[in-house]
C-alpha cells in the first residue's frame, strides 16, 4: 500500500496485527447468562474462527470485544495490556472493527460515499476529487471490485457484503471481526475474499476473527478455532487438527450432525411450473429477466445457481406477484399465474423470498399473526370475514410446537425473534397445507448448522411428498446438495443446465460468472 502518498493512512503507525486475549468474560442479560466465563486467545496475525450455534454467545462475545456491550466480568488484554473497552469508540481507537451479518451501509449513498463517510476524521468540507484519487489508489490493491458509484441499496447482497469488507480494510483496522462473511458470496467470491483476508493476515497486517457456520471455511482458512455452546467455552484448537466431526460434536453437543434427508423418487412428467419467454424491464439501466424456458416438475428440486444480482430477485418477485413481467407466460399446472391470493391458494403456490423478516413477515405484528398470513381470510371451512382468533392462536401454537420456534410469547412481535426462528416461523406458515409449488430463495441465509440441516430436510421432505421446488440460492453447496436439476442464471438469463447429481461445481462456477 502506498502509505506515504496516502493521507488517509499516513497519520497512523505502520500497522501490525493485534493480539487479543479474553479472560473470563461474562455477560448477563437480566437472569439470562449469555456468556459464561469465556476465555480465549486470539493470536497475532491469525485467522481465528468462532464457531457455535445461534444463541451460543458468539455475537455477544464479539459485541463485548468491540464495546457494544459492557461485559459484567472478565477482561480483554490487547497487545499485552489490559484494555478498557466500554464503548465502540474505544475498540475503534484500538483498531478493532466488525463486518456485520446485517448490512450497515447507507443504502442511498454510493460505495465511495459510504467508505469516505465511515471515517471518523471526515473533514467538514469534503474534497471529493482528492478522496476519489485516494480511493482509487486504495482499490488498486484490492483483489475484488464493487461498483463504487451506484447507491449501495441497488447492489445485490453479495456486492454489499464485499463493500462492507472493503470498508473495514479502508478504515485500516488491525483486528477485523467478520460475522458470517461469505453467506452471500459465490464459491469463487468466497474463495477470493477469504483468500484476500488470508493473504492480508499472512502479511501481518491484520488479525481476523471469523464467525462462521461453514466448517469447510474453518478448515481452509482458519488457524485457530474456538467453539462456544450455550454461552460457554466448548473447546478450541488448531483448525488443521480438528475435523468436522469433532467440531460439530463440540457445537451441538451431539456426536453427529443430522443426516441429510434423501431425495426419493424421480420427477413426475407434469410441468407444475412452466415459464416461457419471460421478460422484465431492467431497472436503472440494468438487465431485466430474459428466460426462454424454465420448467419445474412435481417431486423435483430445480436449483438456480448464480452470483447474487443476476436476476434471481426479479424472478422471485415475478413469481411472488410483486413485479409484473413485460412479456411472456408463467403457467402453474397449465393455468396462467399472476400471483393473486386466490390463484396462489387454488394452485398451491408458496413463495418464500430471502431475508424473511424483511420480505415475508410483518415485523411489528405478533408471531401468531405472522403465522396466519396465509390462512386468516380462508381456512378449512372456506372464506372468512371475521377472524377466527382462537383458531389462529391454535394453529400458531401447533406450528411453534412442531417447528420448535423459540419465542418469548406467541404474542411477541416477530421482530423480537432471532433470524433462525423467524425463518422457522415463516417456513412453518408456508409449508402448512397443500403445497404444489414452492419457490424459495436463500432459505438458509444466516442460519446455524442445526437449523440449516433442518430447513434443508424440510425442503427435501416437501419434494418427496410431491411438491415442485424452485430453489434459488447463492450458496452453491446448497444448490448441489439439494437439486435434482441445476440451472445457472447470469444477467437475467438461464445460461446453463445440468442434472444435479454428479454436477461439476467448477463448471457451474464458470457459467455463473459468464464464462461458459
Amino acid at each position: 500500500m502506498s502509505a506515504a502518498l496516502d493521507p488517509v493512512f499516513h497519520d497512523k503507525p505502520a500497522h501490525r496485527a493485534l493480539e487479543v486475549e479474553a479472560i473470563g468474560v461474562t455477560k448477563r442479560f437480566g437472569p439470562f447468562v449469555a456468556l459464561d466465563n469465556v476465555s480465549l486467545k486470539i493470536r497475532r496475525g491469525t485467522v481465528h474462527a468462532l464457531l457455535g450455534e445461534n444463541g451460543a454467545g458468539k455475537s455477544t462475545f464479539v459485541k463485548c470485544l468491540l464495546g457494544y456491550y459492557k461485559s459484567d466480568e472478565g477482561d480483554f488484554v490487547v497487545e499485552g495490556r489490559e484494555a478498557t473497552i466500554a464503548r465502540p469508540a474505544d475498540a475503534d481507537a484500538l483498531g478493532m472493527g466488525m463486518v456485520y451479518q446485517h448490512f450497515t451501509l447507507v443504502p442511498s449513498m454510493t460505495a465511495s460515499e459510504n467508505l469516505v463517510m465511515s471515517r471518523s476524521n471526515v473533514p467538514g468540507i469534503i474534497d471529493w476529487k482528492a478522496e476519489r484519487r485516494q480511493l482509487f489508489n486504495f482499490l488498486k490493491n484490492m483483489p475484488f471490485l464493487v461498483p463504487m458509484d451506484v447507491p449501495v441499496g441497488e447492489l445485490a447482497a453479495g456486492e454489499r457484503q464485499k463493500t462492507e469488507i472493503l470498508k473495514q480494510l479502508y478504515l485500516n483496522r488491525r483486528l477485523i471481526v467478520l460475522d458470517e462473511p461469505t453467506s452471500t458470496l459465490t464459491p469463487q467470491e468466497a474463495a477470493e475474499v477469504l483468500g484476500l483476508v488470508r493473504s492480508l493476515v499472512e502479511m501481518g497486517d491484520i488479525t481476523v476473527v471469523i464467525i462462521t457456520h461453514k466448517l469447510k471455511e474453518v478448515a481452509a482458512y482458519a488457524d485457530d478455532v474456538t467453539v462456544l455452546r450455550k454461552g460457554k467455552f466448548a473447546g478450541s484448537g488448531s483448525a488443521k487438527e480438528l475435523g468436522p466431526e469433532e467440531l460439530t460434536a463440540m457445537m451441538i453437543g451431539e456426536p453427529h450432525a443430522p443426516k441429510p434427508v434423501e431425495r426419493l423418487g424421480g420427477p413426475d412428467a407434469e410441468e407444475r411450473l412452466a415459464i416461457r419467454n419471460l421478460k422484465t424491464e431492467g431497472e436503472l439501466g440494468r438487465f431485466g429477466l430474459s428466460i426462454d424456458k424454465l420448467v419445474v416438475r412435481p417431486r423435483e428440486i430445480v436449483g438456480v445457481a448464480g452470483v447474487s444480482g443476476n436476476g434471481q430477485k426479479d424472478l422471485v418477485e415475478v413469481l411472488g406477484g410483486q413485479r409484473s413481467p413485460a412479456s411472456g407466460d408463467v403457467l402453474v399446472s397449465g393455468a396462467p399465474y399472476h400471483g393473486g391470493r386466490d390463484e396462489a391458494r387454488r394452485l398451491g403456490v408458496r413463495v418464500l423470498p430471502e431475508e424473511p423478516l424483511r420480505n415475508a413477515s410483518v415485523p411489528k405484528m405478533s408471531v401468531v399473526a405472522n403465522m396466519n398470513l396465509r390462512r386468516f381470510d380462508h381456512d378449512e371451512k372456506g372464506p372468512r370475514r371475521w377472524l377466527d382468533l382462537k383458531g389462529m392462536n391454535e394453529r400458531a401454537l401447533g406450528m411453534i410446537q412442531s417447528y420448535g420456534v423459540r419465542t418469548p410469547s406467541p404474542e411477541a412481535p416477530i421482530a423480537a425473534l432471532s433470524g433462525g426462528n423467524v425463518q422457522r416461523a415463516t417456513l412453518a406458515r408456508e409449508f402448512d397445507g397443500e403445497v404444489d409449488l414452492l419457490v424459495i430463495s436463500n432459505p438458509c441465509f444466516g442460519l446455524d448448522v442445526k437449523a440449516v440441516a433442518e430447513v434443508r430436510a424440510r425442503i427435501v421432505a416437501a419434494r418427496n411428498a410431491g411438491t415442485a421446488v424452485l430453489l434459488l440460492s447463492e450458496d452453491l453447496d446448497e444448490v448441489m446438495e439439494l437439486s435434482d436439476r441445476i440451472v445457472v442464471m447470469h444477467h437475467g438469463e438461464i445460461v446453463h443446465e445440468t442434472p444435479g447429481p454428479g454436477a461439476d461445481a467448477l463448471d457451474i462456477g464458470r457459467h455463473m460468472v459468464g464464462h461458459g
Partner: protein
C-alpha cells in the same frame, strides 16, 4: 433434534398443541405500556404548560380548575364538550383509517367542506320530501363526495406513486377553493347577504338533538363509526389485510393481498367519514353550507388521530379531551383574561409531548417479551 418430516407426524403435533413455556404476561404488559405512556406524556405536557402559565403570571391551578369547569364540570359544559367532539371523531377516522396501511393523510378538511357542500345542495334540492329520506340522501351524498376526494388521494398513492401526505394537503386547498367558488358564486343563496351560503335545507330537515340532551346525533354516529372501525380493524380479515399491508407492503404483495385496492378503499372510507362530518355540521348546526364549515375540523382530526396513535378507539377519549379544551376556551378567556390562543398553546404542548412519547415504546425492558428470543 426432531424433524417432524412426515405429514402425519406434523399433523399429530398440530392436533394437540401444548402451550410452550413462555411469557404469558406479555400481552397484559403491552396493554399497560399503551396506556401508561400516553398518560405520562399528558402529565409532561401539563407540566410544560403550567410553567408557561407561571411565566404569564397565571396560576396553573386556577387554569386547571377553570378548564375542568368549562369542559367537564357540569352536565351543561360536558354537553358542550361532546358536541364539539362529535365531528372530530369522524375527521380523526379520516387520518386513522389510511394510517392502518401506513399512509399519512392530512387532507380531511377538503372532504369535510366538499361533503358538507354536497349534503347542503342535495338537502336543499330535495327539501320538500319526507325529512328522514332527505337526511339519508344528504348523508349518502356527503359520504360519497368525501370518499371520492380522499379516495383520489389513495388512488394517486397506489397507482401513481404520489406521496399521499402532500397530495391530500394540496387537494384540501383545491377543495376549499372550489367550495368558496361555488358557495360565493353559482350555488349562492341570493338571500344570504353578509355570509354567502347555499340555499337552506329547511328547518324540517335539520337534525334535532338527542332525546333529553342538547347534543346532536352526530355524536352517536361518530362513536358508532369509531367503535365499528376498531372492530373491523381488529376482528375482520379485511382489517387484518389492512394491518399486514401497513406493516410490510412487500409481504402483503407476496401474500397476494390486493394492496393497491386496499389503500384506495381505506382512504375512501376515511374520506366518507370526513364527508359525513361535513354533512352533520350542515344538517345539525348551520342548515346550509357556508364558510363556517371550514372551521378546521379536518385539521383537528389529524391531531386527534396522532394523539390516539391511529387507534379508532383511542380517538374517542382524545376527541373528548380536545373537545373539552376548546369548550373551556371561552371561559378561560373571560375569567383569566388570557387570549383565545392560550388553549391552542396547550394543544401544542400535548401534541408535541405525545409525538415525542412515540419513541418511548419499547424502551423499557419490563414491558417487553422475555425469555428465549
Amino acid at each position: 433434534m426432531t424433524i417432524a418430516m412426515s405429514s402425519e407426524a406434523a399433523s399429530k403435533a398440530t392436533a394437540q398443541p401444548k402451550q410452550p413455556a413462555g411469557d404469558w404476561g406479555y400481552p397484559f404488559r403491552r396493554l399497560l405500556e399503551q396506556l401508561l405512556v400516553p398518560v405520562a406524556a399528558l402529565l409532561i405536557a401539563a407540566t410544560g404548560f403550567a410553567i408557561f402559565l407561571v411565566f404569564l403570571g397565571t396560576s396553573p391551578l386556577d387554569f386547571a380548575s377553570l378548564v375542568w369547569r368549562g369542559a367537564f364540570g357540569s352536565w351543561f359544559s360536558f354537553q358542550n364538550t361532546l358536541q364539539r367532539a362529535a365531528p372530530l371523531l369522524l375527521t380523526a377516522l379520516c387520518v386513522a383509517l389510511p394510517a392502518q396501511l401506513g399512509l399519512v393523510v392530512i387532507g380531511g378538511e377538503g372532504a369535510v367542506v366538499l361533503g358538507g357542500l354536497a349534503a347542503a345542495v342535495i338537502g336543499a334540492s330535495l327539501s320538500a320530501l319526507f325529512p328522514p329520506l332527505v337526511i339519508l340522501a344528504m348523508a349518502v351524498s356527503g359520504a360519497l363526495v368525501g370518499a371520492f376526494w380522499i379516495g383520489l388521494t389513495g388512488w394517486l398513492r397506489a397507482y401513481r406513486g404520489i406521496n399521499e401526505t402532500i397530495a391530500s394537503l394540496l387537494l384540501a386547498y383545491i377543495a376549499l377553493a372550489v367550495f368558496n367558488h361555488l358557495v360565493e358564486g353559482p350555488l349562492r343563496d341570493p338571500a344570504s347577504l353578509n355570509k354567502p351560503s347555499t340555499l337552506p335545507i329547511g328547518e324540517a330537515n335539520m337534525l334535532g338533538s338527542l332525546p333529553g340532551m342538547n347534543i346532536h346525533p352526530g355524536l352517536v354516529l361518530g362513536l358508532v363509526a369509531c367503535i365499528g372501525f376498531w372492530i373491523v380493524i381488529q376482528r375482520t380479515s379485511f382489517g387484518f389485510a389492512w394491518r399486514v399491508t401497513g406493516g410490510n407492503l412487500r409481504t402483503a404483495l407476496l401474500q397476494g393481498l390486493p394492496a393497491n385496492r386496499l389503500i384506495v378503499i381505506a382512504c375512501a372510507l376515511g374520506g366518507a367519514c370526513a364527508g359525513l362530518a361535513g354533512m352533520i355540521e350542515v344538517a345539525a348546526v348551520h342548515g346550509s353550507a357556508n364558510a363556517s364549515l371550514a372551521a378546521g375540523y379536518g385539521y383537528a382530526g389529524i391531531l386527534i388521530a396522532f394523539l390516539a396513535r391511529q387507534s379508532p378507539l383511542g380517538a374517542i377519549p382524545m376527541a373528548i379531551l380536545l373537545g373539552g379544551i376548546s369548550a373551556a376556551g371561552g371561559l378561560v378567556q373571560r375569567r383569566l383574561g388570557l387570549p383565545d390562543a392560550t388553549v391552542l398553546v396547550l394543544q401544542g404542548f400535548i401534541f408535541v409531548s405525545i409525538l415525542a412519547s412515540e419513541t418511548i415504546y419499547g424502551r423499557f425492558r419490563w414491558f417487553q417479551p422475555r425469555g428465549t428470543a
